[in-house]
Symmetry: D2
């Protein structure tokens, strides 16, 4: 039985507790949060879990095998490093850490210590993303040409990270999972409407040598909540609308084929618009699968889907986007 | 009675003929198109209009007072220049010309000759844009902070201009009309999926010194047609969905207010989500108003809404976007 | 070459003219309408067609082979009877006539004279209805259990017929075409909000011995236009939304199966909710197919899809609905 | 402090427990359910509440002041009668009882004993219905002319009551609350696709002497969930779409005005289509307000909104609908 400790009982913490609570092969021994009112809420629902103020109480507890870190990003590295040094498996909330360098150090440490290091990119475990992955992997879409995602809503302005660090990890993890290639470069633009200079609206273009392109539109300043992703292949195209309750994924039998006349002076384009297919998507709770994947990683030595590699690649892209945005949109190469 | 000649009877030509035909104070004397089959279609519906093969027949006709040019962009400058030199008022299809330099020469010539020079940015005359203009001008939105537009569909791939030159003039004209300020710089990124290197997917960020930002997402490769524009102010926000038949504009009584604590270490954000108002929007045909504005410019010496200044500014932005896109998204300053 | 005359150039007349004008094997010789302004509009677009004030001029023209009657319902019988007596084929606008008795007389006459008698139930020729027919005929839905249709909008109040006589012919023709069985009885309820007692809101239940049921909801008093039809089978179900531009038909792989325990005290229901399929639907103009079907009926002796049998059955159902509504919703048997 | 007992811990029971648990001035002393597994679930979340198998343990507990009955309809009368006889206030789940006669007996008993008798028509306490009530009461809609409601989904087939008894209480309670008048008569039609003869699809027309009409469309056999209500006044109209997360209510500034020419031979209709207003609607949990209203009824002697009068009127209408449906849709007068 794996003993688990959770650090941070803010917005996401209760979801982690709820899902690890019902997980087989593991018990939540303790939850840490500096705020007494958060601990009170915890105790009301889960009297059996120890509520502690200090993360150290978890990190240093010899009975605890695995630590889940759901604190602000800036604290990820230090907490995870200590936990790994103390021989504990670690599940980090997204994004993995504040910099690529931090990610690399944690990965190295986990490999040295032979410990599971995983990042909670929950979206990779949703029924919708699993279905899209299946559709792409069986070549239904043909050669994939673009991914375009809009993730906008009103709030919540973060005090320490910009809107890309806050929202784009979702899109980037999906992108990285669905299209398994390293981007060549990144451009990003944006604007801050607050005095602290942290962007609340930002756009990101991710360029690949293959001609594939990805684009993200992220905002905390939209009157409506939009979670819309389009993925275009040369055979079919997908629209994934995550706010739609029952028709999240639509597969369009729509494509164009580009030919050229003999002397290549003209392009000729054949358009095809056909049927639409709306596959049924599982409504399972994704976070339960994250919990299962983490515990299996520990007990069965499986390699988690939402691995440190994906986690690190996302931080690499976020770092590049920040460099681009601070340099007026200049192209930042990734390697 | 103003005598009008129309050059080009392709996709847009029949709309121009239909709307100028019913315009008071003007008569369509001739339409020119090199393609006989297009002229046949014209004659079938409008036996009273002269159908000619050569644009010169219109440009050199001493009885014709005004020329409307609805040909591919690359030919705009030469045709318009000749027409102005021959003393004819000119209405150009969008975009005005292939370069800022061309626009400037045409404007200079029209001023010298005291002739009307106008560009057909039809959207400025739609009920929806007129309503939004009214809402912005009466300060309903407060200080405007962003405009974000998505204009995507399947096709039609253009052989000579990229997707921004093709689709963005609509958004840029609306942007320029609604937010009367000169942008500071432009970034653009994109990709071509054809061998001719012409971008079929592209994104454009338009930066302003005021902190206002605009962003365009244009594509010929989308399975669905989207024409969605969001405009955010610090008091209210608008969503303008042009494919919606009856609820094109929604005004959200939604905003956030950003304050800071005394020592400016934290930002505090107040969110407000309120009622939505969907104003009735006139269904009038916008192109009829374009025709009226052009003829009035000639007969009443009014200054057209869709003026050469707007036309030129749009070409300036398109030119900058092309320079950016060809230089990997680098920021291109506008002045 | 069949010579055609059209009586009535009101709302629907111009559509008839446009579609018969481009039909092979036929020429429109004349159009009759008592209103000079309607004839003026006709002459503007179609100078080659004779414009006459009096329907008799068409009915008595020996050169005219076929007459299309697009006048108010109350005049259908007299005009059609005269035309048939004069040896002319007849296409009647829907509904066929004011009563079952009138329909029967016209049918008898057409059979005696060996003339085509057809009713313009245009919907039967739309891409959407043709697709649904195909889906039903190949048993995709299984045993069909219900059809439920809502056809509501604002206006246009008719002065002489109630909302069922005005709107329900569309639904009834689709029902009759898709489900080829004679209903057992009809119930109808409704209300009039005008002093003339003509119902502007009405509901109709059509009962079948097989257990199949159809229900119509018709209104001239709705703030929005709804054209929504649901068809449920025991294997799959269809939603046909005619105001949707691109996704008119959705096929739900959804069903329930009812079993019972051994002593039939309980029912057990298995629900299945699966994928959704949105077939591409042809955008062809249905009225062109109506015209083709009518002319083919004359020249090729084919039996029209929108036959006098369907036309008569619909009048029979409308007559029954009126009898029910006037008798407080009492069940009216059809045979 | 009011001591409460809850009988029935099935589908709705947990919601009742959750909302009464957080209510001031009351404590849940015990919950009764014959099924041990339901009691286990209760104890897991609420160890402080007594879990009992027998309803009698609650009804006969002298310390319990008020009983909430959330059992199948057929058992309502007997349980409520016993509770009232034992001097307990009673909150009944909807519908109130199986017959008008049962309702009347319970009401008489509650009046004799001076006890609160209330029915849980939860919808009357939703933000949406409260907003509509406000809009109607301030005469925004003008004279109300119709209410048309569609409440359809897949399942859950009930073994003992038909789809009207199951789903229509929601619509009827809203109707009764918004339009405070007694209907004149009811017609209902429907069909059963099960061997037990219980209707799974049914339609109900509710006629009023004022010319107002209401119509309900209820089904357990729809592939999609629809909860759509239209309310038309002679000044404005409302659409209330309960499955819409953020825009539940739309107020259409749409109307028609009917005039007649002098000799009343013709009707003239003026149509007006204007703006749409989407008021913000509170997301509060309605059942918490039900709990508050019930407890206030006991402690403050207020008269509950969802009173026994509304509860009884709904059973009266359901009873009439059943009589109509069993007599082939015949009109059943209500008094």
């Amino acid at each position: 039985m794996i003993q688990v400790g959770i650090i941070g009982y803010g917005y996401w913490g209760p979801n982690l507790v709820r899902n690890f609570f019902i997980q087989k092969d593991c018990t939540i021994k303790a939850v840490a949060d500096a705020r007494q009112n958060r601990l009170d809420i915890l105790k009301q629902s889960y009297p059996s879990i120890n509520a502690v103020h200090d993360a150290e109480a978890i990190i240093n507890d010899p009975e605890i095998d695995a630590v889940i870190i759901a604190t602000p990003v800036y604290s990820h590295f230090e907490l995870a490093q200590k936990a790994l040094l103390n021989g504990k498996h670690v599940l980090l909330e997204k994004p993995m850490a504040s910099s690529l360098a931090e990610c690399e150090k944690l990965i190295e440490l986990s490999l040295q210590k032979n410990l599971v290091l995983m990042v909670d990119h929950t979206f990779l475990y949703t029924g919708a993303v699993e279905k899209i992955k299946e559709i792409i992997d069986d070549n239904t879409l043909g050669k994939i040409q673009y991914l375009d995602s809009t993730r906008i809503n009103l709030g919540l302005f973060q005090p320490d990270i910009n809107v890309l660090w806050d929202l784009a990890p979702h899109d980037l993890s999906i992108l990285r999972y669905l299209y398994d290639a390293t981007p060549y470069s990144i451009n990003a633009t944006g604007v801050s409407h607050t005095h602290n200079g942290i962007e609340n609206i930002a756009f990101m273009t991710i360029n690949y040598e293959s001609g594939f392109i990805a684009h993200l539109n992220c905002s905390w300043s939209s009157p409506v909540k939009v979670r819309m992703m389009m993925i275009g292949g040369d055979k079919k195209m997908i629209i994934y609308n995550d706010v739609e309750p029952t028709e999240k994924i639509k597969i369009y039998d729509t494509a164009y084929q580009i030919t050229s006349d003999e002397d290549k002076k003209q392009i000729l384009v054949d358009y095809r618009v056909g049927d639409i297919f709306v596959p049924k998507v599982s409504n399972k709770e994704a976070l339960a699968s994250v919990a299962y994947d983490f515990i299996s990683g520990i007990t069965q030595h499986t390699f988690p889907r939402s691995s440190y590699i994906i986690g690190m690649d996302i931080v690499k892209m976020l770092e590049a986007s920040e460099q681009s945005i601070k340099n007026n949109g200049i192209e930042v190469k990734l390697n």
